[in-house]
Amino acid sequence: MTLDSKTVHTIARLSQLNIDDGEVDRYCQELSNILSLVEQMEQCDTTDIEPMTHPFDASLRLRSDEVTETNQREKFQAIAPQAERGLYLVPKVID
C-alpha cells in the first residue's frame, strides 16, 4: 500500500498534527515503507482466529463504588498551561 498525500493529510488531521507541504513526500514514503512491512501479515491465514486484545485471558476486575479521591485542584492546576478561577482555559470553542 502506498499512501498518497491526501491520505497523509487526512491522517495528520485526525492525529492533530501539522504536516508542512515540504514534509508530505517524506511522510508518504516513510509511512508507505512501514505499511509494506505490516502487510506481510497478508500471507497469513487467520480464518476463524479470535483476535487477541489482551496478553492473558483475564476478566475485568470491578472496584466497589466508593468515593476515595479528595480535591487536588490546586496541585493539578499548578502544572496547567492556562487555568483561571478553577477552570482550564483553551481558545474559544465555537460549536
Partner: protein, 487 residues
C-alpha cells in the same frame, strides 16, 4: 574496575561497611562527572535526604530488603514533585503530581532514587537517538560512539557505566532486553501484568511492562521481588500472591529442556552472535540441559503485527498530550485547532509522529479489519505457537538482537531498518511472556552479545534460575566496559 552487584552493596550496607549516604554520594559524584548523557534529571538533594533517612532507619533496626540502595528510574515513571519527561519536549517541564506504583514499591523497599534516566521519546526507539534530551553513549563504544540501544538506553548505559548499581526500565518490544544486550547487562522483562503500569507513561498498553536492568540475574530477582505485585489501580495487573524470585536460583538445571526456535537463527543474524549463542548452549548442555530444535512458525510476522498494534495503541494513548491540562503548549495560536496541532507538532519528535500517524491510519474507518483486527489475530497465532512449544520445552533460547551495538546515526535514516533490531524480542511482548537478556560473550570488536531466554507465562523463577546458573558458570556478566578501565 570491576562490577559491584546489588547483592554486594546490600551486604556492605547491612554490615556497616558503607552508609547509604556514602554510597549515594559516591554514585552522585560519578553521575556528575559522566559524559554518557544517561540521565535526564538528577536529584542530589532528595537522594541524599532519602539516604540519610535510610541510614537512620537501619540504625533503628529496619530490615527493608533494599534499604539504602541507590537506583535510577527510567524517565517514563511519574514521581510526585519530580520532573518526568518521557524523553519528550512535550513533557520537558512536566512535574508529575503523583507517583507510579513501581516507584512507590521500590521506595517502600528502601531504595534511593538518584534521578531519571534518558530514553527514546515515549519509549519509541531502539537506539535512544529519539530522545529530545540528546543521544546516550554506550560505555562499550570505544573509538566510535555507539548507541546503548533503546528505549531504556539511559538506564542500561547508567548501569554499564557504573553510575548506578541498577535501574528500572520498561519493555514494550525489547526496550529492556535490547539495551541490556548492547551494554553487556542483564535485562528482565516480567510477564505482562506482573508489574503495575499505574504511573508508567503508556506507549502500547497491551505490551508495556516495567523491567529492571542489572549486572546479574540474582540482582534482577532482588529488584523484582519489590517491583512486582498486584495493584488495584491497574485493571491488567495479575492478582496473585507475591513471590520470592530468588527461591529457585540455586536449583541445578539437570533435565532442563531447551528449545532453539529456528526462526531466531535465520538470515540477518550476525555470525559472531550465532557463534556465541552456540557456545552458550554448550554451557547449558554441560549443566545437564538437553536441547531441541523447535519452530515458532508465525514469529516472522511478529514485527508486522507489532507495528500495527503498538502504534495503534500509542496513537490513542498520546492523544491526551493536547496542551490543555499539563505539558507543553505552543506559544502562537489563533484558535483551538491551531493550538492542538501546533502543540503536538512542536512537542513530539519525528518517530513519535510517524507512529501516531501509522496507528491512526491502522484504526481508521475502512482499514481496521485489514490492519488492527488482522494484527490481533496474528498475535493470537504467535501466542499459540509459544503455548504449544512450552508443552515440549522448559525454556526457549536464542540471540537477543541480530547485531551488536551500532554507531550513532548509522540507522536513523531508515525507520524500518531500525525496527529490525527488535525482531527477536517482539514476539515475547505480543504473547505477554517473561524473557531476559544476559551477556554471553563479546564480538571480535569487543562489543557485548546478548542471549535471550524465554519461559512460560508467570514462570519468572525458572527464567531467573536459568540465567543465574549460566552466570555461576561463566563470567561474561562481570566484564566492564573498556572506557571504565581507562578511567
Amino acid at each position: 574496575m570491576t562490577i559491584k552487584t546489588i547483592k554486594q552493596h546490600l551486604a556492605d550496607l547491612k554490615h556497616g561497611q558503607v552508609s547509604s549516604v556514602e554510597l549515594t554520594s559516591d554514585y552522585l559524584a560519578r553521575i556528575a562527572s559522566s559524559e554518557l548523557n544517561a540521565f535526564i534529571s538528577v536529584n542530589p538533594e532528595t537522594a541524599l535526604a532519602a539516604a540519610k533517612h535510610a541510614d537512620e532507619e537501619r540504625a533503628a533496626g529496619s530490615d527493608k530488603p533494599l534499604l539504602g540502595l541507590p537506583i535510577a528510574h527510567k524517565d517514563i515513571f511519574c514521581i510526585d514533585g519530580t520532573r518526568t519527561t518521557c524523553g519528550s519536549k512535550i513533557l520537558e517541564n512536566f512535574t508529575a503530581p503523583y507517583t507510579a506504583t513501581v516507584v512507590n514499591r521500590l521506595s517502600d523497599a528502601g531504595t534511593i532514587s538518584l534521578g531519571k534516566t534518558n530514553m527514546d521519546e515515549f519509549a519509541m526507539g531502539s537506539s535512544n537517538e529519539n530522545s529530545y534530551f540528546g543521544d546516550v553513549l554506550n560505555p562499550w563504544g570505544n573509538e566510535v560512539s555507539r548507541v546503548p540501544g533503546g528505549s531504556s538506553g539511559g538506564s542500561a548505559a547508567a548501569v554499564a557505566g557504573q553510575l548506578v548499581p541498577a535501574s528500572t526500565g520498561t519493555d514494550t518490544g525489547g526496550s529492556i532486553r535490547q539495551p541490556a544486550a548492547f551494554c553487556g547487562l542483564t535485562g528482565v522483562k516480567p510477564s505482562y501484568g506482573r508489574c503495575s503500569r499505574y504511573g508508567m507513561i503508556a506507549f502500547a498498553s497491551s505490551l508495556d511492562q516495567a523491567a529492571p536492568v542489572t549486572h546479574t540475574a540474582e540482582d534482577a530477582a532482588l529488584l523484582l521481588n519489590s517491583m512486582t505485585g498486584f495493584d488495584k489501580r491497574d485493571s491488567t495487573s495479575v492478582e496473585i500472591e507475591n513471590e520470592d524470585f530468588t527461591r529457585d536460583l540455586n536449583t541445578p538445571l539437570d533435565g532442563l529442556k531447551i528449545g532453539l526456535p529456528k526462526e531466531f537463527f535465520g538470515e540477518g543474524l550476525d555470525d559472531e552472535i550465532a557463534q556465541r549463542v552456540a557456545d552458550a548452549i554448550k554451557v547449558y548442555e554441560s549443566l545437564g540441559a538437553s536441547v531441541v530444535d523447535v519452530s515458532l512458525p508465525n514469529a516472522k510476522l511478529a514485527l508486522a503485527a507489532y507495528y500495527v498494534i503498538a502504534p495503534a495503541e500509542a496513537s490513542s494513548n498520546l492523544a491526551r498530550f493536547d496542551g490543555v491540562r499539563y505539558g507543553y503548549r505552543t506559544e502562537h495560536y489563533d484558535d483551538l485547532g491551531q493550538m492542538y496541532a501546533r502543540t503536538r507538532s512542536e512537542g513530539f519528535g519525528e518517530e513519535v509522529k510517524r507512529r501516531i500517524m501509522i496507528g491512526t491510519y491502522a484504526l481508521s474507518s475502512g482499514y481496521y479489519d485489514a490492519y488492527y483486527a488482522k494484527a490481533q489475530k496474528v498475535r493470537r497465532l504467535i501466542s499459540n505457537d509459544f503455548d504449544s512449544l512450552f508443552q515440549q520445552v522448559d525454556v526457549l533460547i536464542g540471540p537477543t538482537t541480530p547485531t551488536t551495538a551500532f554507531t550513532h546515526g548509522s540507522r536513523s535514516d531508515d525507520p524500518v531498518a531500525m525496527y529490525l533490531n527488535d525482531i527477536y524480542t517482539i514476539p515475547v511482548n505480543l504473547a505477554g511472556l517473561p524473557a531476559a537478556s544476559i551477556q554471553c560473550g563479546l564480538s571480535s570488536n569487543g562489543l557485548p552479545i546478548g542471549l535471550q531466554l524465554i519461559t512460560p507465562y508467570l514462570q519468572e523463577s525458572r527464567l531467573l534460575k536459568v540465567a543465574h546458573q549460566f552466570q555461576l558458570e561463566t563470567d561474561w556478566h562481570t566484564l566492564t566496559a573498556p572506557s571504565l578501565e581507562v578511567a
